[in-house]
Amino acid sequence: MNSQIKNVLENIEKVIIGKREVAELSIVALLARGHVLLEDVPGVGKTMMVRSLAKSFDAQFKRIQFTPDLLPSDVVGISIYNPKTMEFEFRPGPIMGDVVLADEINRTSPKTQSALLEAMEETSVTIDGNTLAINQPFFVMATQNPIEHEGTYPLPEAQLDRFLLKIKMGYPSRGEEVEILRRAENGKPIEQIKSVLSVAQLIELQELVQGVYVEDSVKSYMVELASQTREHNYVHLGVSPRATIALMKASQAYAFMKGRSYVTPDDVQYLVPFVFSHRLVLKPDARYDHVTADEILERIIAQTPVPTKRFAEQ
């Protein structure tokens, strides 16, 4: 485990109890310069997770609460006429932060959703013909209530592709929940944590992640997994090459976090459900047979031979 990241994780754990995996995956996405979609019911600590993460890096934290009447300009910012200077002045929206929590993203209109997603993809915003780059680190953690809930605009599949990982938060265990109560007695723990890593150090780490070695046999293993999803009986639309790239980047970040300079098939196998599951479009048959995307991926992983030799030796 990388020691710097270990500090961050420990920092987060002071606030969030028993969500080590979510914290790790969030850091993976952050290191890979990707974004995370957190899907779960309200009140399980999504906001607290993002806030503690941002605080650990001493990063600027912004929060956008998505509502049906939210406009794109409320997200990206707006140019306002300044009578003093007789010019239009750009007022950056909350998207221009380092760590952005896009809360309940599926409650807003598709127009506003796409403004957010475009900014995430391009790492820039365009207002009145002016394109403004968003500074790194730029990390969006969008949350979404499960789709069954009323009054929501589900994100289209193509848009979901923009998220590196989709994570489910889940309820804490009973013991964990007791611990949560115990901590809640003594005021807000989020106030007590301090930053352990500077933004500059984070960017440095992001650069190091890109240097994590991916052996060709592991690359071809990733490709094999991706193409298996495209050939699967239950899958209407398999994952895109963008997803394969995402898998590689996430694997690199994960390997780095684990303190390794190379990616192993274990990393890949671990990450596949988080990277692929929200990108699969299943056939109706799958739903009739009560097969979920995660189950399909599990089967694909079990069937696909893991490389045990270097690519050149195979």
Binding site: Y213, E215, S217, V218, R260, S261, Y262, V263, T264, P265, D266, Q269, I301, A302, Q303, T304, P305, V306, P307, T308, K309, R310
Partner: protein
């Protein structure tokens, strides 16, 4: 304390069983080697077992055993009392003598006493091994299997009868194997030896073994389909063909057990030069035993003849004007005379004495001092009898009733002869009115009723089966002995006196010169046929064997009166002779080129069979033991290799394969790390994860690292060894 007593008792019982199994080993050895002092050997086995059971200090136990051996030798091989002063010098001189013999490589000189010592030491070793099997390995199966194999082999190939022994050994061995298996189970489960629990497992096992053995013992058993494998094996391995004395090939002496396959042997026995084709007659036999032929009241009357004297036989002789000579050159000189039909006398160069047994009409060639003589050549004078058809047609069945008691032995049949044989005989002859026609009907019966001539498919009758009955009704395939014996028995069943004749078929005819023809007679020509008594005409030869043609001269003097009969009989006789010779010739030509190769192969088959069997056993053993020896080979191989990445890489894959062999196979979708965890959990180590971590780095990473290969090698060897144990 209670437990250890129970364990001791258990072991004691095991040793008792071992004692009885070992006794079954000893019995045949004693019996076959004609060794006395069985009880002394038993005492030695008992002594060794008790010493081993009591776990006496090896030194003390060695002294005791050695003392016993010394006493044994002194007691058995020295005439004087053991405690007398002569014992020590006796032992010393024995020692000196045998050491000299051994050191000079003269193993034939080793004395019986020393052999006994070696044998006792062998038993000593064996008991040590058994002790190891019973108390350490807790697996007696090899010993058990070897015992069964040993007894079965001796039972098959020697005079020893292992019927009772094999039952005892199997029952004891199964019980022993079962008990030891339970013990092993207990040990594996790490259970405390609760006697009650143990007996709950052992008792059902005991009951089932005893039940199965009892049922098996009392079940009816069919006779062996392969009653005696020895002749077959000898045939296959090419240990045949020295002619005389062989049971199934060439001219044999003992015909009390007929049947079984036989192998051809074309060793030339003699060459005859004669004007006529002859059936070469040697002897007759008169008593059928349901299994073969013996001679009644052997050696009843022997009559000596000088060379050139007229030798009387019971056979007809032709007119003196037709007297002719046949010259016999013996390639394998035989101690008996080869006779022709119409035999008058013999002239030989040496002053030999010809002793005829009146019973069998076998003529032994002897010197005047009574010793056997092997003549290289002699000349036979003969005059072939010509039977008158008219006379033959007069042989009405009523004439048989007038025959005197001297013919009784030619009507002998065993009491056990199945009734259906007699019924068949009556069916065959029922339409014929004369004895001659009846005989011909029996002779022809074989030609038309689905009988086949084959040397190798001939069966051996089972213990309670009749040789003739088996051939006539069951197998219908065989060679001359089957046909001739069956014909004799059928004739006797029909009340016609008949006897079984042995000798040689006419042989391979050569070119004619001066009216004389050469006949080459080989061991393959050894033959048997039938002589039957036709009232009025006397003893006549008949040939029931398919593919052979008889040699009777019949004067069809009835031609004018009954033309049909001439037509019927004549084609049967003469035209067939050239045909058969023709057939023999073509056969010879076609096999000639292969002959050499075949003979060569036959000689080698013995070696081949043994080699093949050994190879097969080795291969099978190696295959089933591969879990054990392959890793050992690898360990040895990798010890020599340099400690670097490439050897580590291949050694890791070797390990994966070995793990797969013991059932820990890496699944397709399983990563190395997950697999390593599984392996370590199964083998209760953490070495596999250590190795895998390094290997992962090597395979998936791109930076060379400082690795302690020596330590890796240790881990690797440890894992490999874990998979073996």
């Amino acid at each position: 304390m209670k437990q250890s007593v129970a364990e001791f008792l258990e072991l004691a019982v095991a040793y008792l069983i071992i004692f009885f199994i070992l006794r079954e080993w000893l019995v045949p050895i004693m019996q076959l080697t004609n060794t006395g002092g069985f009880q002394f050997f038993l005492v030695f086995i008992g002594l060794s077992l008790v010493l081993s059971l009591l776990q006496v200090h090896p030194l003390l136990s060695g002294v005791v055993k050695f003392g016993y051996i010394t006493w044994f030798i002194a007691y058995i091989y020295n005439d004087r009392p053991v405690l007398s002063s002569g014992t020590l010098p006796f032992l010393l001189s024995e020692w000196k003598w045998n050491m000299t013999a051994i050191l000079s490589g003269d193993f034939g000189q080793v004395s019986d006493a020393f052999r006994t010592v070696l044998f006792l030491i062998l038993i000593w070793m064996l008991i040590y091994l058994i002790h190891h099997w019973v108390s350490v390995k807790k697996n007696i199966f090899y010993f058990f299997g070897m015992t069964v194999f040993f007894i079965a082999t001796l039972d098959t190939f020697s005079d020893y009868d292992g019927k009772g022994a094999i039952v005892k050994v199997v029952v004891l061995g199964l019980i022993m194997t079962g008990v030891l298996f339970v013990k092993r189970l207990w040990l594996q489960a790490d259970a405390t030896s609760n006697i009650v629990e143990k007996w709950k497992v052992i008792i059902p096992m005991l009951v089932s073994v005893l039940l199965v053995s009892t049922v098996a013992f009392y079940l009816p058993k069919t006779g062996p389909t392969w009653a005696d494998p020895v002749p077959f094996i000898k045939g296959v391995t090419g240990q045949v063909g020295n002619g005389i004395g062989q049971k199934t090939v060439g001219y044999g002496e003992d015909d009390s057990q007929l049947g079984g396959p036989f192998q051809g042997d074309d060793t030339l026995v003699f060459t005859a030069t004669s004007r006529d084709r002859h059936y070469w007659r040697v002897e007759t036999k008169d008593t059928y035993t349901t299994k073969g032929w013996i001679v009644s009241e052997e050696g009843m009357n022997e009559v000596p003849y000088e060379s050139g004297m007229l030798i009387r036989t019971s056979l007809q002789v032709g007119s003196p004007e037709d007297e002719r000579q046949a010259q016999l050159e013996m390639d394998v000189p035989l101690p008996f005379l080869i006779q022709t039909y119409g035999f008058i006398g013999v002239s030989a160069q040496d002053s030999a004495l010809f002793v005829q047994n009146e019973q069998t009409e076998k003529v032994l060639i002897k010197q005047h001092n009574g010793e056997s003589l092997l003549l290289p050549s002699y000349s036979l004078s003969y005059s072939e009898p010509i039977y008158s058809m008219e006379q033959l047609q007069m042989s009405y069945t009523s004439t048989l009733e007038t025959l005197d008691a001297s013919f009784d032995r030619f009507l002998q049949l065993p009491d056990e002869l199945p009734i259906r044989v007699r019924d068949l005989a009556m069916t065959i002859i029922q339409d014929e009115s004369t004895v001659y026609d009846q005989i011909k009907a029996v002779e022809n019966y074989f030609k038309t009723n689905g009988f086949r001539y084959d040397k190798t498919e001939a069966a051996i009758p089972a213990e309670n089966q009749d040789y003739v009955d088996q051939f006539l009704f069951d197998t219908k395939v065989g060679y001359c002995d089957n046909f001739s014996t069956s014909m004799v028995v059928l004739l006797r069943s029909a009340g016609i006196p008949a006897r079984w004749v042995k000798g040689f078929a006419p042989g391979q005819p050569g070119t004619m010169s001066d009216g004389m023809r050469e006949y080459k007679v080989t061991n393959d020509n050894a033959h048997s046929w039938v002589e039957a008594y036709v009232p009025g005409a006397g003893w006549m030869e008949f040939e029931p064997t398919i593919g052979f043609t008889g040699n009777i001269n019949i004067d069809y003097d009835l031609s004018l009166d009954t033309p049909e009969q001439q037509e019927v009989i004549e084609p049967e006789q003469k035209p067939e002779q050239p045909q058969q010779q023709e057939a023999q010739k073509t056969q010879n030509r076609s096999t000639l080129s292969l002959d050499a190769i075949w003979t060569w192969l036959k000689k080698l088959t013995y070696v081949w069979v043994v080699l093949l069997v050994l190879l097969l056993i080795t291969a099978i053993t190696l295959f089933f033991q591969r879990k054990k020896w392959i890793p050992k080979m690898h360990v040895r191989a990798y010890r020599k290799k340099a400690a670097d990445w490439s050897s580590f890489d291949s050694s890791y894959h070797v390990l994966l394969k070995q793990l797969a062999r013991i059932g820990l196979r890496k699944r397709d979708g399983e990563t190395l790390r997950a697999f390593a965890e599984r392996v370590d959990a199964a083998l209760e180590t953490d070495e596999m994860q250590k190795l895998t971590a390094v290997y992962e780095q090597h395979v998936y990473g791109n930076e060379a690292q400082e690795i302690d290969f020596v330590k890796l090698k240790e881990s690797w060897e440890y894992l490999i060894n874990r998979t073996i144990s």
